[in-house]
Every structure is written in C-alpha cells, then in structure tokens.
C-alpha cells in the first residue's frame, strides 16, 4: 500500500505557524485527529451537561414553593437555583427546573453518551487495532464531526432562546403544542435530527472499515473485542437512527403545518410517537453501552494479562444484544399499551438480560488466574463491573410487569439508567481515556492521583444515585420540581453525592491537564498489550505504522505470544514463547 514505507513524524507534530496548524486540524482527514477533536467536543458538552445536572440537584435541595407571610400572602419563592428570591414567580421557578432537566438529558444523551466512545476512542483506536492506515471513508469521517458541531450549535441556539422543557423524550402532545410559534423547540428537535446523521455516518464508516480494512492475517475471530463491540453498536446506529430522524421530522412538520400526526387535538396519536421514539431509543441505549462494554473487555484482558474468558461468547453476546435490542422497545410503555403488547415486550426484555449477564460472568471469569495490575484503567474496569451490574439487575424489576407499574416514571428508573449509562458507559470511557491516553498524546499521567480521583468519582456516584432507588420506590415521581417534605432528606443526600462527583471529575481533569503540560514521554506499550495499536509509536506517526503490520497472534494470547516492544523487566514471558515468536 502506498503511504507506508517512510517513517513519518508523530501525528501531533506542529505543521508550522499557529494558523497553519488550525487549518491543518480543521481540514484533517486523519482518524486520530478527528478522534481527538471529538474527544474535546464531547468533553466540552459533558461539562455543560454536568453543570445543568448540578443545577438540577441544587434546585432540588428545596421543593419549589412560595414563601408566605403570616397573612398568607406570597412574599417569595424557595427552591430556586440561587436560594429564595422574590423576583421570580412560582411559575418561573418550575419552568426553570423543567428547562434544566431537559437540557441535561438532551445534552447528555444526544451529544455525550451516544457519540462518546465510538466517535472519540473508537475513531482513534479502531483503525490502529485493525492495522489500518485510516477508516474506510476519511472524508466522511471529517464530515460527521462537522455535522456533530452543527447539531450542537442548533442546540445551543435553542438554549440561548430560552431552552425547551419537553424532556429529552419529546413526548407528544406536550412537545407538539408547547411554545408554538417560537423556534426553540424545533431547533432542539432539529439538533437531535442532525446529530443523528453524524451518528449514522460514523456507524457506516466503522462497519465498512471492519469488513474491509483488517490487516493481513486478521480473521473475524482475531479481532479484539473492542472492535466487536464497536461493530455491533455501529450496526444499530445505521439501522435505528433513521427512525428517530423521521420521527423528529414528523414532529417538526406537525408543529409547522398543524396536520395531526401525534397530537390528539389534531386527530393524531401520541402513543404512536412513543412507539417511534422508543423504536430508536431503546436500541440506542445499546449504542451507548456496547462500546462501553467493548472498552471493558480490552481493559480486563490487557490489565489481567489474560485471554478473555469465552471470547466467542462475548463477541456473539454483543451481536445478540444488538439484535434483541430492536424488539424490546415497548418496555418503556407498559402503562400506555394493551395487555398483550405488554406481555410480549416484558418477555422479550428478559431475553436481553441474558447476554448482558453472560458478559459480566465472562469478565469476572477472566480475572481468575490472571496477572492483575491495579491502575487507573483497571480500577475503572472494576468500578464498571460494580455499577453496571447494579444497573443491569435493577432492569429486572423494571422489566417485570407488576413491579414496573409501580416503578415506571419514578426516580427508580432515573437511578437505573444512571447506573447503566453513567455507571456503565461513562465509567468505561474514563477508563478507556486513561488506558489509551499514553497512546493518544504520548504522555504519562500521575497514576496515583488518577486512582484517587477514580475513588472519589465512585463514592460520589453511588451516593448520588443509589439514594434515588429508594426515592423512587418510596413514591417520588421523576421530573418533579417540587416534592412532599419526607423526600427532602433523600434529595439532600443525592445532591451531596453529586458535589462529590463534581470534585472527582475536576480532579481527573487536573490530572490529565497536568499530564499534557508536564507528563513524561510515554512508552510505546506501557501495559504490555498484544493488540496492534501497541505496535505503533506513542503518539502514532501520521500513517499509523511504518509498514503494514502482519498479525501473528490473537489479541489476548498472553500465554503464547510476546507483547510488542516488550520489556522483560516488567512483563516476564516464558522462554518458549520468546523462541516461538522469534524474539521481537
């Protein structure tokens, strides 16, 4: 292949003046640069979404209520974001809360979790793992980044115009009738629509890349499990996202033309919207989690120096989850569907729990007789096993019909999906960022500080969200700006936890910034991994490898293969392996 053969400089190398570099990055088709740009874009959105979350939690310290004087006249409002104030009416207080939780949800789902792992780490690592020079369609890849930015700008415009209060689920007829004549709801809907395209293009790119660009010698079952996970989720992205695109367009169309599609006042059907919405949004929760699981498979394999237990079961579980995820959407609608439909969807929902459970068993079995090193990435893998298991198990009372009638639309659901999405995907991506950080930026970070931050995040997360399980079962509906007095103590604990979380994240940020500024040069293969990205330089050169790599061993053959750039002091390998591998 052309392009190989000359030993280029690092992809991060400066191309000249500041503006030359800006233009270079803005027009790059290098998957690594695009991955890094995505990482920064997504972390920025994560910051905004996080601020909205903290605002929500602070507002919930007190229920939104009027303060009355002795005569009963309203003299102020409590439960406001910035303490009591008499300038803001009760209505404004409630509305502010509704806008904040919608913002938080929409940003975190559409701009953070859905693109997070594939677009950032996936973009960077996937071609390297396959031994490819780039993704299959590099220009499309850049386009998808710009589409992401345009989508985010639409969302920001909507926020500047006052923000929307529809919830991230945009349920009709509320969403098709609130603030008619104002563009902000349509702007937010279009933002989600546009972001969908970015997601489709990335997914398409990855599917083709995996099919076409594997290095010589790499069969399907020689692929790292990270690739399997990204591949499965890419399939869902391509197949499910168009449905939400059409649905959101119909919603915008209904708002403009007032032709009834979803709004019963116009002759439409709101439950139809729910079917359309969840037909996308349930599969998409697996777009969120499969790449997270994919990272975990890598972290556990590499840091336990052990072949993943039941490699094929894990790979097929990914595909199985992707397949079943398309037929369980109705479990979000048990309170608005017929009995028969509810029964069918409940049964199917339990089907998806099985491959999920199998994966967890496999990861834990991989630890057995491993050689486990505990560092920030591995700590995150263990945290993931803890939090994600809670998230998955609490899916059971939600999938069970009788209990879901009690739990639906309460804080129990809120806690469940934070345990799977934040405790799953976010924990996985932080672990992944630390795992591939030396590869991405060629710098080491302070391992001990990163682990301290991980522990803070772990504690903060559980304090924040475990509390919410109790709130839900004890009678706290979700999306409430106000609540009965006996709930206040739970809200206080939860808000306290969220502040601990904030400290943990800032601590991480500090460690990573410090690494960029003052980190030592990283080794090529700091963890002794066997997958191809560890063959490349840290950071990789512009075309990834000096020559096309040849795959001679499986991704986790720690018992028979020698890690690239192996340092015998750190990772002893049996002498016969060395001989067999012809001494690297």
């Amino acid at each position: 292949m052309s392009g190989y053969g000359h030993h280029g400089g690092s992809y991060l190398e400066s191309k000249g003046s500041f503006w030359t570099n800006v233009v270079d990055w803005a027009t790059t088709v290098d998957h690594k640069k695009i991955g890094v740009m995505y990482l920064f874009a997504i972390m920025t959105m994560f910051f905004f979404g996080g601020m909205a979350a903290i605002a929500v939690r602070l507002e919930l310290l007190e229920p939104v209520r009027p303060i009355q004087d002795a005569a009963g006249a309203i003299v102020g409002v409590k439960g406001q974001l910035f303490g009591s104030s008499d300038a803001v009416s009760l209505e404004a207080g409630n509305n502010m809360y509704n806008v904040l939780f919608t913002l938080h949800g929409a940003i975190m789902v559409f701009m953070v979790i859905v693109p997070s792992v594939p677009a950032s780490i996936g973009n960077f690592v996937l071609p390297l793992m396959l031994g490819a020079k780039d993704v299959a369609f590099p220009k499309l890849n850049l386009l998808s980044w710009y589409i992401y930015v345009v989508g985010s700008i639409f969302a920001v415009c909507s926020i500047i115009l006052g923000g929307v209060d529809t919830g991230w689920t945009f349920y009709t007829p509320y969403s098709s009738s609130s603030w008619l004549g104002q563009p902000k709801v349509v702007l937010m809907v279009l933002a989600a629509f546009i972001l969908g395209f970015s997601s489709i293009l990335t997914g398409l790119n990855f599917v083709v890349t995996v099919h076409k660009l594997r290095a010589p010698g790499m069969g399907w079952f020689d692929m790292p499990l990270f690739v399997w996970g990204i591949y499965s989720s890419a399939i869902i992205q391509v197949l499910a996202t168009p449905v939400i695109g059409i649905t959101l367009l119909l919603l915008a169309f209904e708002r403009f033309t007032r032709i009834g599609i979803f709004d019963p006042a116009l002759g439409g059907d709101p439950v139809l919207f729910q079917h359309f919405f969840w037909f996308y949004s349930h599969p998409v929760v697996y777009v969120m989690i499969l790449p997270g699981m994919a990272i975990i498979s890598e972290l556990i394999g590499v840091h336990a120096h052990k072949k993943i237990f039941g490699y094929k079961a894990v790979a097929f579980a990914s595909l199985g989850i992707a397949g079943v995820s398309f037929i369980v959407w109705g479990h979000h609608m048990f309170t608005s569907m017929s009995e028969t439909a509810s029964m069918i969807f409940s049964g199917l929902t339990f089907l998806v729990a099985i491959p999920t459970a199998v994966k967890v068993f496999n990861w834990i079995a991989t630890l057995y007789k491993g050689s486990i090193s505990i560092n920030a990435p591995m700590l995150y893998a263990l945290i993931f096993l803890f939090t994600f298991s809670i998230g998955g198990l609490t899916g059971l009372p939600l999938g069970t019909l009788s209990t879901d009638l009690h739990l639906h639309d309460t804080y129990f659901v809120v806690a469940h999906f934070h345990y799977v999405m934040m405790g799953g995907t976010i924990m996985a991506i932080i672990g992944g960022i630390h795992h591939w950080w030396p590869k991405m930026f060629g710098k080491t970070y302070n391992e001990k500080q990163a682990m301290i931050a991980a522990v803070i995040v772990f504690i903060g997360f559980n304090v924040t969200f475990f509390t919410q399980f109790f709130m839900g079962t004890r009678g706290m509906p979700r999306r409430y700006a106000s609540y009965v007095d006996e709930m206040q103590i739970w809200h206080h604990i939860s808000t306290g936890g969220s502040l601990i979380l904030l400290v943990g994240f800032l601590w991480h940020l500090f460690v990573l910034v410090q690494s960029l500024v003052a980190g030592r040069k990283a080794e090529k293969n700091p963890w002794g991994g066997l997958t191809l990205e560890w063959l490349a330089d840290s950071p990789p050169e512009e075309h990834n490898f000096p020559h096309e790599p040849l795959v001679t061993h499986g991704p986790y053959d720690y018992e028979s293969a020698v890690p690239y750039h192996w340092d015998p002091k750190d990772y002893p390998v049996p002498a016969e392996n060395l001989k067999a591998a012809g001494a690297h």
């Binding site: 009788s402 009678g475 009965v484």
Partner: protein, 378 residues
C-alpha cells in the same frame, strides 16, 4: 387469593424491615402486596447475584494481583459446560420472574365485574373525579402550599376509574396501591383498586360535625363523615406534563363503605337543584350537548327551554317540561330537524326524580325564554 403477608415470618417477604425501607409500608391493596412480594423477592435475588459476583471479583483481584517477576499460570479460556450452566440457570429464573410479574400485572389491570365506575378527568394541572351520582368532591386538602382535591373512596370495594385527559399525557399513580396508568387524550383509560379499610395503625379521624351546627347545615358531607376513620393516600401525576407537573397531586381518603355511602348521598344532593343539574349535565350530557350555544352532536341547551323547535317532519313543538322529559326517557319520539342521523340513548332508570328536576332547573337557568319567576334563587 394467596396472601404473601400471612406466610411464616421467615419467608415474610412482603412485610418486614426491607419492605419498610424500600416501600415505606406494605401496600394498601391486596394486589399491591403481591407487587411488594415480587419486589422484595427481586431485591434478594439481585442482592445474592450481585454480592456473589463482587465477592468473586474481589477475591480474584487480590489473589491474582500481579507479582513482579512472575507470570500468570496457564488456565483455560473457555469451558463449555460452565458457560451453558451460567446461561441456562439465570434464564430459568427469568422465566419464573416473567410469569410471576405477568400474573401480578393481570390482577392489577383487570377490574372485577362488580366494580363501581367513576369518571376521572386529568388536566393541566389537576384531577377531577365525578362520582356515580354526578357530583364532585367538595373537600380539598393541602400538600405543601397547594390546595388539592380529596377523593373519598369506599374500603374493601373495587372501584374502577374511567380516565380521560383534557390536554396532554398524564399518568395516575397511587404509590400506596402500586398502580399506575397513563391518561392519554382522546382515549378512555381505566385503572382499578380495592383499598384496605382504615385500621388502627394507619387511621386518622374526621372532626365531629353535628347536623345542627352552622357548618353542618351548609355541608351535609361533613356531617356524613363526622367522626369517621380514614386512611389517606397520595395521588401523583407520573407523566411529565409541563409547568406544574409536580403540583398535580390529590388525596384519596379511604373510609368504611357505609360512611362512603352516606357521604356520596350527601354530596349528590346539593340543596340547589340548579347546581345538581349542572353537575349532571357535565357528567352525563356534555358529551353530546353544550350549554354555551356552540354546536355539537345534539342541540345546545343554551336558550333551549321555552323555545319553539322545528321537528324533522316540519311540525313545531314548544320546549317545556313535558317535551324535555320525553326527550330524556324516549329520545326517539320527536327528532329535531337537522339531527335526524343522531340517536340519543334513553336515560330511563338512570335518573331519579330529583335529578330530573335538577336538569330542568338548570336548563331554565340558562335560557332567556324561560319564565323568570320559576327560577328558584338560593
């Protein structure tokens, strides 16, 4: 039905420390306690799996931590029998959970045939119930700063709510009953419950109001409730519906059936017949008639009384008491021109004489043709 709460203490999954921690207290309905049992069962199921997995994880991490200068001992990386076992065993549990959950659900969804029907309307942002006799509850309670309606319900009697929404989606949730049902505009949704009676532990008593006190004269409903025990349950809206979503609450107060009967009769007979007629109009007639002159399936009641109507055969008739009575009990006898295609159902046997009188008085009160002297004033 099999009651989990009367099982031996060891297996008492539905009434113990964990029920109180998770669910505040056992549910106040029989089917709700079935749910409690299921939830607490699932809680222990999850605890066992989770703790088991975490113990293994921690043991492995400690035991097999990396030791400098040594390598991991070889071990197999798959084990087909083990993998089959850990796929099949959870699957069997899941099948059981599914069926158990489904049966509990059916019990919650299918109302017994003899349930009392009431109409519930959900709107931004509140609830309204029209009792079988057409009246609404006159009582309100407070949560936080808000006045919310108090709905009286008979204990140990199945009640079915036929729910409609006036605007957007709402959901009717009574945490203590463990039931929830979305209320979708343009659809009739139903939910039912059979609440436990007020008992020693959960009960409060109403103030005593005597029939002859000034308050008792004004509020016969308070007299009916005088001194009676009740158990109170909160109702929430669980489907996001906008600005005051979190204020959309109500109370259900469960009283003994005899107290409920007395209360129901008391609210059903307002001393003012116009008021009674207006309520009946809203609950029974407003689906086809209007009282403001706008058109609908049937003729409007505005300015109807005392008017001369043209019938479909071209003859004319004066709208008086006799004509109205005939229209209520034998709607097909005279058809007004323009309404040939509609047919109204007869209300024979569904209205008692004072209710009919109420309807007549209400019609008179909204018609300019009605003789003024006959309109009673309060």
């Amino acid at each position: 039905m099999h009651t989990p709460s009367d099982m031996t203490p060891l297996f008492s999954l539905a009434d113990g420390f964990w029920t109180r921690t998770w669910l505040r207290h056992p549910a106040s309905t029989e089917v709700g306690r079935e749910t409690d049992f299921m939830f607490i069962w699932l809680w222990w199921f999850c605890v066992i799996w989770f703790v088991g997995l975490m113990i293994l994880m921690v043991i492995f991490v400690i035991k097999y931590r990396r030791k400098p200068g040594t390598i991991a001992p070889p071990s197999s990386s798959h084990n087909t029998p083990l993998e089959i076992v850990w796929t099949v065993i959870p699957s069997l549990f899941l099948v059981w959970i599914f069926f158990k959950g489904f049966y509990g659900y059916i019990d919650k969804i299918v109302a017994p045939g003899h349930a009392i029907d009431m109409n519930l309307t959900a709107f931004k942002w509140g609830w309204q119930i029209n009792y079988p006799n057409g009246s609404e509850t006159p009582t309100t309670g407070r949560v936080g700063f808000r006045e919310i309606p108090v709905f009286y319900m008979p204990a140990k009697t199945p009640v079915r709510l036929k729910m409609q929404s006036k605007d957007v989606l709402h959901a009717f949730w009574v945490p203590d009953f463990r039931i929830k049902q979305d209320v979708v505009p343009n659809r009739l949704m139903t939910v039912w419950f059979e609440a436990d009676g007020p008992n020693e532990k959960t009960t409060t008593r109403h103030e005593v109001v005597s029939k002859d006190s000034p308050e008792g004269k004004k509020r016969p409903d308070l007299v009916a409730l005088s001194g009676a025990a009740y158990t109170e349950h909160l109702v929430f809206c669980a489907e996001y519906c906008g600005t005051e979503h979190s204020e959309m609450a109500a109370f259900i107060r469960v009283v003994e059936p005899s107290v409920y009967e007395a209360w129901h009769t008391a609210i059903g007979t307002p001393s003012d017949p116009i008021e009674l007629g207006k309520r009946l109009f809203k609950t029974k007639c407003a689906s086809c008639h209007t009282d403001d002159g706008s058109s609908s399936t049937g003729p409007t009641w505005k300015d109807l009384y005392g008017k001369t109507e043209t019938l479909k055969d071209g003859s004319q008739v004066l709208v008086d008491d006799a004509y109205i009575l005939e229209s209520i009990f034998e709607p097909g006898a005279k058809i007004v021109k323009g309404y040939e295609k509609q047919n109204m159902t007869s209300f024979r046997g569904l209205l008692n004489p004072s209710q009919v009188q109420g309807i007549l008085e209400y019609m008179k009160s909204i018609s300019v043709h009605a003789p003024k002297s006959e309109t009673p004033t309060q």
